[in-house]
């Protein structure tokens, strides 16, 4: 009986000991350094993304997509509202950089299916937006290479290739000219046909005076009957 009792006492103490250890460990968890959480991706991944060239889409491809009414992409203009009102690309959505991280913008930018192509006057502002978006882990963000400056240099007023340049350069030039027409610039060049009127020495025409001989009207026959 006494043996049994001892064992029992031991076992109850063991429970207490175990409980005490667990409580101590739990208290230790509180002392652990804060696990610093940061939003978005990790620094190393961010660096890798910031290095890649994959983000750039050329103006030619963008023009092609606009013309073919490609539904798989959205154009986002990150310039200010005033600049956007003056000029932007067709169907572009204006999200100024200062509103880029707002909730309304999030609906547009944080896409998984549709590609989002950012652009500004050159690459810098759009790149800022692109980097911030990537920091937050947004996928499907792209940049229009060279921005609107490049757009004007390539699509709106492309440079005529030199004669020594390869055929591809001319094909690209023609393609860009044609794209420019779609965006309402450029001219349809129709060679002007010059009509030359030959001048002959003026001969004073000697014409017989035209006699106007009116045909004699037939007399109306008098009405036969009468009152």
């Amino acid at each position: 009986m006494s043996k049994n009792y001892k064992l029992k006492r031991l076992s109850t103490r063991r429970y207490q000991m175990l409980a005490a250890i667990l409580i101590l460990l739990a208290a230790g968890l509180v002392l652990l350094p804060d696990y610093q959480k940061h939003e978005g991706i990790e620094p190393q991944l961010f660096i890798n993304k910031a290095m890649s060239n994959e983000r750039f889409i050329s103006t030619d491809i963008v023009a092609d997509k606009i013309i073919n009414k490609d539904p798989s992409f959205v154009l986002v203009d990150v310039r200010s509202e005033a600049e956007f009102a003056k000029f932007s690309l067709p169907n572009a959505i204006n999200i100024p950089l200062d509103k880029f991280l707002s909730e309304e913008a999030d609906n547009v930018i944080n896409q998984e299916i549709v590609d989002v192509v950012l652009f500004s006057n050159d690459n810098f502002m759009a790149n800022e937006a692109w980097l911030l978006g990537n920091r937050l882990g947004y996928t499907n963000l792209y940049l229009m290479k060279g921005g609107l400056n490049e757009w004007f240099n390539t699509i709106i007023s492309p440079k005529m290739p030199e004669e020594t340049m390869p055929r591809e350069a001319f094909e690209l030039y023609n393609q860009r000219k044609a794209a420019g027409l779609y965006f309402g610039v450029g001219s349809i060049e129709v060679p002007a046909v010059k009509t030359i009127v030959k001048t002959e020495p003026v001969k004073t025409p000697v014409k017989a005076p035209v006699k106007v001989v009116p045909e004699e009207k037939k007399k109306k026959s008098a009405p036969e009957g009468g009152c």
Binding site: N4, H38, A50, K86, L101, F124, V190, V193, P209
Partner: protein, 211 residues
């Protein structure tokens, strides 16, 4: 005996429990580099305090107040770089030495002036550093090139539209050019005036019948 078995089971499970906790503690991995600044405050910094430094601004600075940092690859750097620049390639920013370098600069209150192929590439490094908590880097607004064995750095204006787009586009709008043929010379042929001989109208005879 039953009682003994019970205690055995308890102690075994307790040991396993402790082991799990100890292993968890030992393998607890603290991330080495953590972004301390969130995206919103980074954007705020970009909008309020311009991180861009022009080369004129650089000249105005005291040469001890800044350190030039070339963020291009070591290969490009070895071909040519700005005098006095230190090479920290963009993908090597997180290496311990480099992090210590930026830490020391912050402690000394010196500005790290970043430049790369163009400001776009330097921006990637700037953003990495700023979000890691280093507030002293700036971006130098230059484009660098290595052509004909010469390293060329030239100033660029960032986000400046080449043209006034709205008005330029209006002036370029398609005008269908209808070719206007210009006759060389038009000589009017003079015709002799027509002579009209009026013929007297015959009087209408009085109606024969009548009341």
């Amino acid at each position: 005996m039953k009682e003994l078995e019970k205690t055995k089971r308890i102690s075994v499970s307790a040991v396993i429990f402790l082991l799990v906790i100890v292993i968890g503690l030992l393998t607890f991995k603290k991330p080495k580099h953590v972004f301390s600044t969130d995206a919103k405050s980074t954007l705020n910094e970009l909008l309020t305090a311009d991180p861009i430094l022009t080369s004129a601004g650089l000249k105005a600075m005291d040469s001890t107040a800044y350190v030039l940092v070339d963020v291009r690859s070591a290969y490009e750097y070895n071909k040519g770089h700005l005098p006095g620049a230190r090479n920290i390639a963009h993908n090597e920013v997180l290496i311990e030495d480099n992090i210590r370098f930026f830490k020391n600069l912050t402690a000394d209150n010196k500005v790290a002036v970043l430049y790369g192929e163009n400001p776009n590439w330097a921006l990637g490094t700037w953003m990495t550093l700023y979000q890691l908590g280093y507030t002293n880097p700036k971006i130098l607004a230059i484009e660098t090139q290595y052509t004909d064995k010469v390293f060329i750095a030239k100033d660029v204006q960032i986000e400046k539209p080449d043209l006034d787009y709205g008005t330029t586009l209006d002036s370029l709008k398609t005008k269908k050019q209808i070719p206007v043929a210009e006759p060389v010379k038009v000589i009017e042929k003079k015709e002799a005036p027509k002579v009209v001989v009026p013929v007297e109208k015959k009087k209408k005879s009085a109606p024969e019948g009548g009341c």
